[in-house]
Assembly symmetry: C2
Amino acid sequence: MQIAEEVVGQIQAGVLKPGELIPSESELVRTYGVSGGTIRKAMAEVRASGLVETRHGKGSTVVDRPPVRHRSSDRFRRSHRQGGKAAYLAESAQSGATAEVKVLHIGPVEVPAEIADRLGVDAAAQVLARRRLYLRNGTPVETATSYLSWDVVKDIPELFAENPGGGGIYARLEDHGHEFAEFVETLQARPSSKVEAAELALTSGAPVIRLVREAVTTSGRVVEVCDTLMAADQFVFQYRIPAAD
Amino acid sequence: MQIAEEVVGQIQAGVLKPGELIPSESELVRTYGVSGGTIRKAMAEVRASGLVETRHGKGSTVVDRPPVRHRSSDRFRRSHRQGGKAAYLAESAQSGATAEVKVLHIGPVEVPAEIADRLGVDAAAQVLARRRLYLRNGTPVETATSYLSWDVVKDIPELFAENPGGGGIYARLEDHGHEFAEFVETLQARPSSKVEAAELALTSGAPVIRLVREAVTTSGRVVEVCDTLMAADQFVFQYRIPAAD
DNA sequence: CAGTGGTCTAGACCACAAA
DNA sequence: TTGTGGTCTAGACCACTGG
Protein backbone atom coordinates (compact mmCIF):
# COMPACT_ATOMS: atom_id res chain seq x y z
CA MET A 1 0.00 0.00 0.00
CA GLN A 2 2.84 2.40 0.83
CA ILE A 3 4.53 1.81 -2.50
CA ALA A 4 1.21 2.16 -4.32
CA GLU A 5 0.55 5.44 -2.57
CA GLU A 6 3.98 6.72 -3.48
CA VAL A 7 3.52 5.88 -7.15
CA VAL A 8 0.03 7.38 -7.21
CA GLY A 9 1.42 10.44 -5.50
CA GLN A 10 4.12 10.82 -8.14
CA ILE A 11 1.48 10.68 -10.84
CA GLN A 12 -0.78 13.19 -9.14
CA ALA A 13 2.18 15.46 -8.41
CA GLY A 14 3.06 15.41 -12.08
CA VAL A 15 6.44 13.70 -11.70
CA LEU A 16 5.09 11.03 -14.02
CA LYS A 17 3.24 12.64 -16.87
CA PRO A 18 0.25 11.42 -18.93
CA GLY A 19 1.30 9.11 -21.74
CA GLU A 20 4.55 8.31 -20.00
CA LEU A 21 5.71 4.82 -19.12
CA ILE A 22 6.16 4.38 -15.40
CA PRO A 23 9.13 2.38 -14.07
CA SER A 24 8.88 -1.32 -14.83
CA GLU A 25 8.05 -3.79 -12.09
CA SER A 26 11.57 -5.20 -11.98
CA GLU A 27 12.89 -1.67 -11.70
CA LEU A 28 10.56 -1.02 -8.78
CA VAL A 29 11.79 -4.26 -7.20
CA ARG A 30 15.30 -2.83 -7.26
CA THR A 31 14.49 0.68 -6.13
CA TYR A 32 12.28 -0.39 -3.23
CA GLY A 33 14.22 -3.49 -2.32
CA VAL A 34 11.15 -5.70 -2.03
CA SER A 35 10.18 -8.86 -3.83
CA GLY A 36 8.34 -9.11 -7.12
CA GLY A 37 5.10 -10.28 -5.61
CA THR A 38 4.90 -7.22 -3.40
CA ILE A 39 5.43 -4.89 -6.33
CA ARG A 40 2.75 -6.76 -8.25
CA LYS A 41 0.22 -6.12 -5.52
CA ALA A 42 1.25 -2.49 -5.28
CA MET A 43 0.77 -2.05 -9.02
CA ALA A 44 -2.63 -3.74 -8.81
CA GLU A 45 -3.57 -1.04 -6.32
CA VAL A 46 -2.30 1.68 -8.66
CA ARG A 47 -4.27 0.16 -11.53
CA ALA A 48 -7.40 0.11 -9.38
CA SER A 49 -7.01 3.85 -8.91
CA GLY A 50 -7.56 4.21 -12.62
CA LEU A 51 -4.57 6.47 -13.16
CA VAL A 52 -2.63 3.89 -15.12
CA GLU A 53 -3.12 1.41 -17.93
CA THR A 54 -1.00 -1.72 -18.12
CA ARG A 55 -0.15 -3.71 -21.22
CA HIS A 56 1.46 -7.09 -21.05
CA GLY A 57 4.97 -7.00 -22.47
CA LYS A 58 5.05 -3.24 -22.66
CA GLY A 59 4.57 -1.68 -19.29
CA SER A 60 2.25 0.72 -17.49
CA THR A 61 1.33 4.06 -19.00
CA VAL A 62 -0.07 7.04 -17.15
CA VAL A 63 -3.56 7.49 -18.55
CA ASP A 64 -4.10 10.76 -20.38
CA ARG A 65 -7.37 11.58 -18.72
CA PRO A 66 -10.13 9.50 -17.22
CA PRO A 67 -12.62 9.99 -20.07
CA VAL A 68 -15.94 10.37 -18.35
CA ARG A 69 -19.16 10.98 -20.16
CA HIS A 70 -22.20 12.55 -18.67
CA ARG A 71 -25.55 10.87 -18.90
CA SER A 72 -28.06 13.49 -18.04
CA SER A 73 -31.72 12.75 -17.75
CA ASP A 74 -32.59 15.26 -20.44
CA ARG A 75 -31.06 13.09 -23.14
CA PHE A 76 -34.53 11.91 -24.05
CA ARG A 77 -35.83 15.31 -24.97
CA ARG A 78 -37.61 15.24 -28.27
CA SER A 79 -35.61 18.20 -29.41
CA HIS A 80 -32.52 16.03 -29.37
CA ARG A 81 -34.23 13.49 -31.56
CA GLN A 82 -35.62 16.01 -33.97
CA GLY A 83 -32.10 17.22 -34.52
CA GLY A 84 -31.66 13.92 -36.32
CA LYS A 85 -29.46 12.16 -33.82
CA ALA A 86 -29.94 9.24 -31.53
CA ALA A 87 -29.52 9.86 -27.83
CA TYR A 88 -26.04 8.42 -27.73
CA LEU A 89 -24.61 10.45 -30.54
CA ALA A 90 -26.38 13.57 -29.30
CA GLU A 91 -24.51 13.22 -26.05
CA SER A 92 -21.16 12.52 -27.59
CA ALA A 93 -21.44 15.54 -29.77
CA GLN A 94 -21.46 17.62 -26.61
CA SER A 95 -18.27 16.17 -25.22
CA GLY A 96 -16.18 16.09 -28.35
CA ALA A 97 -15.24 12.41 -28.30
CA THR A 98 -15.35 10.00 -31.19
CA ALA A 99 -18.32 7.72 -30.77
CA GLU A 100 -19.07 4.54 -32.62
CA VAL A 101 -21.90 2.05 -32.48
CA LYS A 102 -21.41 -1.53 -33.55
CA VAL A 103 -24.55 -3.58 -34.12
CA LEU A 104 -24.06 -7.10 -32.80
CA HIS A 105 -27.46 -8.59 -33.50
CA ILE A 106 -30.91 -7.61 -34.67
CA GLY A 107 -33.67 -10.16 -34.80
CA PRO A 108 -36.31 -12.09 -32.94
CA VAL A 109 -35.32 -13.84 -29.73
CA GLU A 110 -37.12 -15.60 -26.95
CA VAL A 111 -37.68 -13.00 -24.27
CA PRO A 112 -35.64 -13.35 -21.06
CA ALA A 113 -37.83 -13.86 -18.00
CA GLU A 114 -36.99 -10.57 -16.33
CA ILE A 115 -37.63 -8.61 -19.51
CA ALA A 116 -40.93 -10.36 -20.20
CA ASP A 117 -42.11 -9.18 -16.82
CA ARG A 118 -41.24 -5.59 -17.58
CA LEU A 119 -42.58 -5.62 -21.15
CA GLY A 120 -45.78 -7.27 -20.04
CA VAL A 121 -45.59 -10.15 -22.50
CA ASP A 122 -45.87 -13.90 -22.09
CA ALA A 123 -42.89 -15.83 -20.81
CA ALA A 124 -42.28 -17.74 -24.05
CA ALA A 125 -43.08 -14.85 -26.37
CA GLN A 126 -40.87 -13.72 -29.20
CA VAL A 127 -39.59 -10.18 -29.09
CA LEU A 128 -37.30 -8.13 -31.25
CA ALA A 129 -33.84 -7.75 -29.78
CA ARG A 130 -31.40 -5.10 -30.92
CA ARG A 131 -28.00 -5.78 -29.36
CA ARG A 132 -25.23 -3.29 -29.87
CA LEU A 133 -21.85 -2.26 -28.57
CA TYR A 134 -20.91 1.35 -27.97
CA LEU A 135 -17.34 2.47 -28.40
CA ARG A 136 -15.75 5.68 -27.31
CA ASN A 137 -12.43 6.67 -28.77
CA GLY A 138 -12.10 3.10 -29.98
CA THR A 139 -12.59 1.35 -26.65
CA PRO A 140 -15.81 -0.42 -25.74
CA VAL A 141 -17.69 1.28 -22.93
CA GLU A 142 -21.20 -0.10 -23.06
CA THR A 143 -23.30 -2.96 -24.35
CA ALA A 144 -27.01 -2.45 -24.76
CA THR A 145 -29.88 -4.67 -25.80
CA SER A 146 -33.27 -3.24 -26.67
CA TYR A 147 -36.25 -5.55 -26.41
CA LEU A 148 -39.42 -4.58 -28.24
CA SER A 149 -42.79 -6.30 -28.26
CA TRP A 150 -43.37 -8.09 -31.51
CA ASP A 151 -46.82 -6.65 -32.21
CA VAL A 152 -45.34 -3.18 -31.87
CA VAL A 153 -42.43 -3.66 -34.23
CA LYS A 154 -43.97 -5.88 -36.86
CA ASP A 155 -45.31 -2.90 -38.79
CA ILE A 156 -42.15 -0.78 -38.47
CA PRO A 157 -39.54 -2.11 -40.91
CA GLU A 158 -36.99 0.52 -39.88
CA LEU A 159 -36.61 -1.17 -36.52
CA PHE A 160 -35.12 -4.20 -38.25
CA ALA A 161 -32.46 -2.15 -39.95
CA GLU A 162 -29.01 -1.54 -38.52
CA ASN A 163 -29.61 2.17 -38.75
CA PRO A 164 -33.19 3.00 -37.80
CA GLY A 165 -32.88 6.50 -39.17
CA GLY A 166 -32.64 9.96 -37.67
CA GLY A 167 -33.60 10.18 -34.03
CA GLY A 168 -33.13 6.46 -33.42
CA ILE A 169 -35.74 3.87 -32.58
CA TYR A 170 -37.62 6.18 -30.24
CA ALA A 171 -38.29 8.57 -33.10
CA ARG A 172 -39.55 5.71 -35.27
CA LEU A 173 -41.87 4.51 -32.51
CA GLU A 174 -43.32 7.98 -32.13
CA ASP A 175 -43.74 8.17 -35.90
CA HIS A 176 -46.07 5.21 -35.58
CA GLY A 177 -48.24 6.63 -32.86
CA HIS A 178 -46.44 5.43 -29.76
CA GLU A 179 -46.07 8.65 -27.87
CA PHE A 180 -43.83 8.43 -24.85
CA ALA A 181 -44.94 9.59 -21.44
CA GLU A 182 -41.88 8.73 -19.40
CA PHE A 183 -38.80 6.59 -19.10
CA VAL A 184 -38.05 4.62 -15.97
CA GLU A 185 -34.41 3.82 -15.36
CA THR A 186 -33.17 1.32 -12.81
CA LEU A 187 -29.47 1.30 -11.95
CA GLN A 188 -27.25 -1.01 -10.01
CA ALA A 189 -23.48 -1.14 -9.68
CA ARG A 190 -21.54 -4.33 -9.06
CA PRO A 191 -18.16 -5.90 -9.77
CA SER A 192 -17.84 -7.24 -13.29
CA SER A 193 -17.74 -10.91 -14.03
CA LYS A 194 -14.95 -12.27 -16.17
CA VAL A 195 -16.94 -12.32 -19.41
CA GLU A 196 -18.32 -8.85 -18.81
CA ALA A 197 -14.85 -7.54 -18.11
CA ALA A 198 -13.66 -9.07 -21.37
CA GLU A 199 -16.52 -7.51 -23.35
CA LEU A 200 -15.84 -4.05 -21.98
CA ALA A 201 -12.03 -4.34 -21.93
CA LEU A 202 -11.92 -3.98 -18.17
CA THR A 203 -9.85 -5.75 -15.59
CA SER A 204 -11.97 -8.42 -13.96
CA GLY A 205 -13.77 -7.13 -10.91
CA ALA A 206 -13.78 -3.51 -12.03
CA PRO A 207 -17.20 -2.00 -11.34
CA VAL A 208 -19.89 -2.07 -13.99
CA ILE A 209 -23.30 -0.47 -13.98
CA ARG A 210 -26.39 -2.26 -15.12
CA LEU A 211 -29.07 0.11 -16.29
CA VAL A 212 -32.48 -1.10 -17.37
CA ARG A 213 -34.71 1.46 -19.01
CA GLU A 214 -38.42 1.07 -19.65
CA ALA A 215 -40.04 3.32 -22.24
CA VAL A 216 -43.62 4.01 -21.23
CA THR A 217 -46.16 5.45 -23.66
CA THR A 218 -48.98 7.80 -22.85
CA SER A 219 -51.31 4.81 -22.88
CA GLY A 220 -49.31 3.35 -20.01
CA ARG A 221 -47.73 0.59 -22.02
CA VAL A 222 -44.05 -0.38 -21.87
CA VAL A 223 -43.10 -0.75 -25.53
CA GLU A 224 -39.36 -1.09 -25.07
CA VAL A 225 -37.00 -2.34 -22.41
CA CYS A 226 -33.33 -1.53 -22.84
CA ASP A 227 -30.84 -3.60 -20.84
CA THR A 228 -27.48 -1.88 -20.62
CA LEU A 229 -24.11 -2.76 -19.12
CA MET A 230 -21.59 0.03 -18.75
CA ALA A 231 -18.01 0.41 -17.61
CA ALA A 232 -18.56 2.37 -14.41
CA ASP A 233 -15.45 4.49 -14.79
CA GLN A 234 -16.73 5.89 -18.06
CA PHE A 235 -19.99 7.38 -16.91
CA VAL A 236 -21.45 9.95 -14.59
CA PHE A 237 -25.22 9.98 -14.25
CA GLN A 238 -27.33 12.99 -13.56
CA TYR A 239 -31.03 13.02 -12.79
CA ARG A 240 -33.36 15.88 -12.04
CA ILE A 241 -36.16 15.08 -9.66
CA PRO A 242 -39.04 17.52 -9.41
CA ALA A 243 -40.08 18.25 -5.83
CA ALA A 244 -43.59 16.95 -6.29
CA ASP A 245 -46.20 16.61 -3.61
CA MET B 1 -9.79 -18.66 -12.10
CA GLN B 2 -10.74 -22.31 -12.51
CA ILE B 3 -10.66 -22.92 -8.78
CA ALA B 4 -12.62 -19.73 -8.17
CA GLU B 5 -15.26 -20.81 -10.65
CA GLU B 6 -15.53 -24.20 -9.01
CA VAL B 7 -16.04 -22.68 -5.58
CA VAL B 8 -18.56 -20.15 -6.89
CA GLY B 9 -20.33 -22.96 -8.70
CA GLN B 10 -20.59 -24.97 -5.50
CA ILE B 11 -22.15 -22.00 -3.75
CA GLN B 12 -24.63 -21.34 -6.53
CA ALA B 13 -25.46 -25.03 -6.78
CA GLY B 14 -26.24 -25.04 -3.08
CA VAL B 15 -23.49 -27.45 -2.08
CA LEU B 16 -22.24 -24.71 0.21
CA LYS B 17 -25.17 -23.11 1.98
CA PRO B 18 -25.68 -19.56 3.23
CA GLY B 19 -24.14 -18.99 6.65
CA GLU B 20 -21.82 -21.93 6.19
CA LEU B 21 -18.03 -21.75 6.43
CA ILE B 22 -16.38 -22.74 3.19
CA PRO B 23 -13.20 -24.88 3.28
CA SER B 24 -10.20 -23.03 4.65
CA GLU B 25 -7.44 -21.87 2.36
CA SER B 26 -4.98 -24.45 3.61
CA GLU B 27 -7.60 -27.11 3.03
CA LEU B 28 -8.06 -25.88 -0.52
CA VAL B 29 -4.27 -26.02 -0.94
CA ARG B 30 -4.40 -29.72 -0.10
CA THR B 31 -7.48 -30.61 -2.13
CA TYR B 32 -6.37 -28.80 -5.27
CA GLY B 33 -2.65 -29.50 -4.88
CA VAL B 34 -1.62 -25.94 -5.64
CA SER B 35 0.33 -23.43 -3.61
CA GLY B 36 -1.06 -21.02 -1.07
CA GLY B 37 -0.60 -17.97 -3.24
CA THR B 38 -2.73 -19.47 -5.95
CA ILE B 39 -5.55 -20.26 -3.56
CA ARG B 40 -5.33 -16.73 -2.20
CA LYS B 41 -5.92 -15.28 -5.63
CA ALA B 42 -8.74 -17.69 -6.29
CA MET B 43 -10.43 -16.68 -3.07
CA ALA B 44 -9.98 -13.01 -3.94
CA GLU B 45 -11.95 -13.77 -7.10
CA VAL B 46 -14.68 -15.51 -5.10
CA ARG B 47 -14.85 -12.55 -2.73
CA ALA B 48 -15.19 -10.18 -5.65
CA SER B 49 -18.25 -12.12 -6.75
CA GLY B 50 -19.90 -10.99 -3.55
CA LEU B 51 -21.10 -14.46 -2.60
CA VAL B 52 -18.76 -14.75 0.35
CA GLU B 53 -17.56 -12.75 3.32
CA THR B 54 -14.12 -13.36 4.78
CA ARG B 55 -13.02 -12.70 8.35
CA HIS B 56 -9.40 -12.83 9.37
CA GLY B 57 -8.77 -15.71 11.73
CA LYS B 58 -12.17 -17.22 11.17
CA GLY B 59 -12.68 -18.11 7.55
CA SER B 60 -15.04 -17.36 4.69
CA THR B 61 -18.78 -17.55 5.12
CA VAL B 62 -21.37 -17.86 2.38
CA VAL B 63 -23.36 -14.66 2.54
CA ASP B 64 -27.02 -15.16 3.37
CA ARG B 65 -28.43 -12.83 0.75
CA PRO B 66 -27.36 -9.49 -0.61
CA PRO B 67 -29.90 -7.23 1.08
CA VAL B 68 -30.73 -4.60 -1.47
CA ARG B 69 -32.67 -1.46 -0.84
CA HIS B 70 -34.49 0.53 -3.42
CA ARG B 71 -33.87 4.22 -3.86
CA SER B 72 -36.68 5.52 -5.92
CA SER B 73 -36.83 9.07 -7.10
CA ASP B 74 -40.19 9.68 -5.43
CA ARG B 75 -38.59 9.55 -1.99
CA PHE B 76 -38.64 13.36 -1.92
CA ARG B 77 -42.39 13.65 -2.15
CA ARG B 78 -43.72 16.06 0.40
CA SER B 79 -46.31 13.52 1.42
CA HIS B 80 -43.51 11.35 2.77
CA ARG B 81 -42.25 14.22 4.83
CA GLN B 82 -45.62 15.23 6.14
CA GLY B 83 -46.01 11.72 7.43
CA GLY B 84 -43.39 12.73 9.96
CA LYS B 85 -40.50 10.71 8.63
CA ALA B 86 -37.23 11.59 7.02
CA ALA B 87 -36.63 10.20 3.56
CA TYR B 88 -34.38 7.42 4.79
CA LEU B 89 -36.72 6.05 7.39
CA ALA B 90 -39.67 6.41 5.05
CA GLU B 91 -37.92 4.12 2.62
CA SER B 92 -36.87 1.59 5.19
CA ALA B 93 -40.38 1.32 6.48
CA GLN B 94 -41.37 -0.03 3.08
CA SER B 95 -38.77 -2.77 3.03
CA GLY B 96 -39.09 -3.98 6.58
CA ALA B 97 -35.44 -3.71 7.57
CA THR B 98 -34.09 -2.23 10.75
CA ALA B 99 -32.64 1.16 9.99
CA GLU B 100 -30.43 3.31 12.18
CA VAL B 101 -28.83 6.68 11.74
CA LYS B 102 -25.71 7.62 13.65
CA VAL B 103 -24.80 11.30 13.69
CA LEU B 104 -21.04 11.68 13.38
CA HIS B 105 -20.73 15.45 13.36
CA ILE B 106 -22.85 18.58 13.24
CA GLY B 107 -21.23 21.94 13.09
CA PRO B 108 -19.57 24.64 11.02
CA VAL B 109 -16.78 23.58 8.68
CA GLU B 110 -14.79 25.20 5.95
CA VAL B 111 -16.53 24.31 2.73
CA PRO B 112 -14.76 21.84 0.39
CA ALA B 113 -13.97 23.37 -2.97
CA GLU B 114 -16.32 21.18 -4.99
CA ILE B 115 -19.20 21.82 -2.62
CA ALA B 116 -18.61 25.58 -2.57
CA ASP B 117 -19.04 25.56 -6.31
CA ARG B 118 -22.35 23.77 -6.14
CA LEU B 119 -23.68 25.78 -3.20
CA GLY B 120 -22.64 29.01 -4.81
CA VAL B 121 -20.65 30.29 -1.83
CA ASP B 122 -17.13 31.65 -1.49
CA ALA B 123 -14.23 29.24 -1.40
CA ALA B 124 -13.26 30.00 2.20
CA ALA B 125 -16.80 30.31 3.51
CA GLN B 126 -18.13 28.54 6.55
CA VAL B 127 -21.05 26.19 6.05
CA LEU B 128 -22.99 23.90 8.30
CA ALA B 129 -22.05 20.27 7.86
CA ARG B 130 -24.19 17.41 9.06
CA ARG B 131 -22.26 14.17 8.74
CA ARG B 132 -24.00 10.91 9.48
CA LEU B 133 -23.70 7.18 9.04
CA TYR B 134 -26.61 5.02 7.99
CA LEU B 135 -26.85 1.47 9.19
CA ARG B 136 -29.07 -1.27 7.95
CA ASN B 137 -29.56 -4.34 10.08
CA GLY B 138 -26.54 -3.21 12.06
CA THR B 139 -24.07 -2.93 9.20
CA PRO B 140 -23.01 0.43 7.79
CA VAL B 141 -24.23 0.99 4.25
CA GLU B 142 -23.90 4.71 3.63
CA THR B 143 -22.18 7.84 4.84
CA ALA B 144 -23.73 11.19 4.03
CA THR B 145 -22.71 14.76 4.64
CA SER B 146 -25.14 17.61 4.15
CA TYR B 147 -23.69 21.04 3.54
CA LEU B 148 -25.93 24.05 4.10
CA SER B 149 -25.18 27.71 3.50
CA TRP B 150 -24.62 29.53 6.76
CA ASP B 151 -27.01 32.39 6.09
CA VAL B 152 -29.75 29.85 5.47
CA VAL B 153 -29.26 27.82 8.62
CA LYS B 154 -28.36 30.52 11.12
CA ASP B 155 -32.01 31.20 11.86
CA ILE B 156 -33.09 27.56 12.03
CA PRO B 157 -31.90 26.10 15.35
CA GLU B 158 -33.41 22.69 14.57
CA LEU B 159 -30.75 22.16 11.92
CA PHE B 160 -28.08 22.13 14.62
CA ALA B 161 -29.81 19.39 16.55
CA GLU B 162 -29.10 15.72 16.10
CA ASN B 163 -32.73 15.13 15.33
CA PRO B 164 -34.12 17.96 13.22
CA GLY B 165 -37.70 16.84 13.86
CA GLY B 166 -40.42 15.21 11.78
CA GLY B 167 -39.74 15.23 8.05
CA GLY B 168 -36.03 15.84 8.43
CA ILE B 169 -34.04 18.90 7.43
CA TYR B 170 -35.97 19.37 4.19
CA ALA B 171 -39.18 19.86 6.14
CA ARG B 172 -37.48 22.41 8.41
CA LEU B 173 -36.16 24.31 5.42
CA GLU B 174 -39.62 24.47 3.89
CA ASP B 175 -41.01 25.61 7.25
CA HIS B 176 -38.76 28.63 6.90
CA GLY B 177 -39.82 29.61 3.42
CA HIS B 178 -37.36 27.65 1.30
CA GLU B 179 -39.69 25.86 -1.02
CA PHE B 180 -38.04 23.22 -3.13
CA ALA B 181 -38.40 23.12 -6.89
CA GLU B 182 -36.25 20.12 -7.72
CA PHE B 183 -33.40 17.92 -6.63
CA VAL B 184 -30.47 17.17 -8.91
CA GLU B 185 -28.64 13.94 -8.24
CA THR B 186 -25.27 13.06 -9.72
CA LEU B 187 -24.05 9.48 -9.43
CA GLN B 188 -20.79 7.77 -10.10
CA ALA B 189 -19.60 4.26 -9.27
CA ARG B 190 -15.99 3.38 -8.59
CA PRO B 191 -13.87 0.95 -6.59
CA SER B 192 -13.60 1.86 -2.94
CA SER B 193 -10.39 3.14 -1.44
CA LYS B 194 -9.01 1.51 1.66
CA VAL B 195 -10.46 4.03 4.11
CA GLU B 196 -13.84 4.02 2.40
CA ALA B 197 -13.93 0.24 2.50
CA ALA B 198 -13.18 0.36 6.20
CA GLU B 199 -15.95 2.90 6.88
CA LEU B 200 -18.55 0.84 5.07
CA ALA B 201 -17.28 -2.56 6.22
CA LEU B 202 -16.47 -3.59 2.66
CA THR B 203 -13.53 -5.47 1.27
CA SER B 204 -11.16 -3.01 -0.31
CA GLY B 205 -11.92 -2.42 -3.97
CA ALA B 206 -15.59 -3.36 -3.71
CA PRO B 207 -17.68 -0.87 -5.69
CA VAL B 208 -19.08 2.19 -4.01
CA ILE B 209 -21.44 4.80 -5.36
CA ARG B 210 -20.92 8.47 -4.81
CA LEU B 211 -24.13 10.41 -5.02
CA VAL B 212 -24.21 14.19 -4.75
CA ARG B 213 -27.61 15.78 -4.43
CA GLU B 214 -28.38 19.45 -4.81
CA ALA B 215 -31.61 20.79 -3.37
CA VAL B 216 -32.85 23.66 -5.49
CA THR B 217 -35.53 26.06 -4.28
CA THR B 218 -38.20 27.74 -6.37
CA SER B 219 -36.03 30.84 -6.38
CA GLY B 220 -33.33 28.84 -8.15
CA ARG B 221 -30.97 28.71 -5.23
CA VAL B 222 -29.10 25.59 -4.10
CA VAL B 223 -29.59 25.63 -0.34
CA GLU B 224 -28.22 22.20 0.42
CA VAL B 225 -25.68 19.84 -1.10
CA CYS B 226 -25.60 16.29 0.19
CA ASP B 227 -22.49 14.23 -0.50
CA THR B 228 -23.14 10.53 -0.10
CA LEU B 229 -21.05 7.41 -0.32
CA MET B 230 -22.84 4.09 -0.52
CA ALA B 231 -21.94 0.43 -0.61
CA ALA B 232 -22.95 -0.38 -4.17
CA ASP B 233 -24.24 -3.85 -3.38
CA GLN B 234 -26.81 -2.43 -1.00
CA PHE B 235 -28.68 -0.18 -3.36
CA VAL B 236 -30.75 -0.15 -6.49
CA PHE B 237 -31.65 3.23 -7.91
CA GLN B 238 -34.76 4.06 -9.82
CA TYR B 239 -35.51 7.29 -11.63
CA ARG B 240 -38.52 8.37 -13.61
CA ILE B 241 -37.78 10.69 -16.48
CA PRO B 242 -40.68 12.51 -18.08
CA ALA B 243 -40.56 12.49 -21.88
CA ALA B 244 -40.36 16.24 -22.19
CA ASP B 245 -39.91 18.20 -25.36
C1' DC C 1 16.27 -11.03 -29.06
C1' DA C 2 15.96 -8.60 -24.40
C1' DG C 3 12.66 -6.61 -21.47
C1' DT C 4 8.07 -6.49 -19.90
C1' DG C 5 4.02 -8.03 -17.31
C1' DG C 6 1.45 -12.51 -15.60
C1' DT C 7 1.38 -16.65 -12.98
C1' DC C 8 2.92 -19.97 -9.87
C1' DT C 9 5.68 -22.23 -6.07
C1' DA C 10 7.28 -23.50 -1.29
C1' DG C 11 8.03 -21.66 2.61
C1' DA C 12 8.30 -18.10 6.26
C1' DC C 13 6.25 -14.96 9.57
C1' DC C 14 2.48 -12.18 11.47
C1' DA C 15 -2.32 -11.00 13.33
C1' DC C 16 -6.65 -12.48 14.49
C1' DA C 17 -10.34 -15.77 16.34
C1' DA C 18 -12.13 -19.23 19.14
C1' DA C 19 -11.81 -22.94 22.25
C1' DT D 1 -2.88 -23.12 21.80
C1' DT D 2 -4.41 -24.19 17.25
C1' DG D 3 -6.17 -22.96 12.96
C1' DT D 4 -7.40 -19.18 10.23
C1' DG D 5 -6.54 -15.45 6.85
C1' DG D 6 -2.86 -11.71 5.41
C1' DT D 7 1.64 -10.55 3.83
C1' DC D 8 6.04 -11.25 2.07
C1' DT D 9 10.15 -13.60 -0.20
C1' DA D 10 13.26 -15.53 -3.84
C1' DG D 11 13.06 -17.69 -7.66
C1' DA D 12 11.04 -20.09 -11.69
C1' DC D 13 8.61 -20.20 -16.05
C1' DC D 14 5.43 -18.35 -19.52
C1' DA D 15 3.41 -14.90 -22.92
C1' DC D 16 3.57 -10.67 -24.95
C1' DT D 17 5.98 -6.47 -27.07
C1' DG D 18 9.06 -4.20 -29.93
C1' DG D 19 13.39 -3.50 -31.95
